[in-house]
């Protein structure tokens, strides 16, 4: 079975500051990794994903994440945030080679951008 831990439930930052949202996972098999974002009153939107290849993955809206297999981490980063980045962010894993396409989510991190 897989599990995901998002280490911070809330992260407040100032506009134009850098941000890192932390995600650690646990799995006995190879996994694929995802970050989703939920803006207020909207559904979840895929930010980026790691399936294979380069461990540095670039996504939409200037976000990127780095897969670190030895540390079982997939932290999300943005060098300069904007007010519009205020949202809840979810890290998720999947183990499709086991025959399951379901996503296993972390608890979510609420990112608040202060002017």
């Amino acid at each position: 079975a897989q599990s995901v831990t998002q280490l911070d439930s809330q992260v407040p930052v100032f506009e134009e500051a850098p941000v890192e949202l932390r995600c650690n996972y646990s799995s006995s098999v190879s996994v694929y990794l995802f970050w989703y974002v939920q803006y207020p009153n909207q559904g979840l939107q895929l930010l980026l994903k790691y399936l294979s290849g380069s461990t540095l993955v670039k996504g939409i809206n200037g976000f990127e994440a780095e897969f670190n297999k030895s540390q079982t981490s997939f932290h999300l980063r943005k060098p300069s945030v904007h007010i519009s980045d205020t949202a809840e962010y979810f890290c998720a894993v999947s183990a499709p080679l086991q025959g399951a396409q379901k996503l296993v989510f972390g608890q979510g991190t609420r990112l608040t951008i202060n002017p």
Binding site: F34, Y36, Q42, L44, A100, Q101, K102, L103, Q107
Partner: protein, 112 residues
């Protein structure tokens, strides 16, 4: 292209009543998933359809939940009878390729 739509957006029912949630996937998406987020907890998988067949229903909490996908198009999730612990946000997602799941806005269910 229309996204995943869910109806209703919010439902308030009393304990013991029945509620049916509907999900319309993106046209042409064979895969349809249901997830649920109970207040303060993580989003959890409920089940996965491939066309009209249940591929994985390992996340369904108990037999009070019944999901259907007639004709491989829209899906319904019925809760009968509803209990207080069923309150939460129910998300539907669809995909053509499994690793690109598109989520709907969710249905917020409140059981009083």
């Amino acid at each position: 292209e229309a996204g995943v739509t869910q109806f209703p957006s919010h439902s308030v029912i009393e304990k013991g009543q029945t509620v049916t949630l509907r999900c319309d996937p993106i046209s042409g998406h064979d895969n349809l998933y249901w997830y649920r987020r109970v207040m303060g907890k993580e989003i959890k998988f409920l089940l996965h359809f491939v066309k009209e067949s249940k591929q994985d229903e390992s996340g369904m909490p108990n037999n009070r939940f019944l999901a259907e996908r007639t004709g491989g198009t829209y899906s319904t999730l019925k809760v009968q009878p509803a209990e207080l612990e069923d309150s939460g946000v129910y998300f539907c997602a669809s995909s053509q390729r499994w690793h690109e799941q598109y989520f709907g806005p969710g249905t917020r269910l409140t059981v009083t």
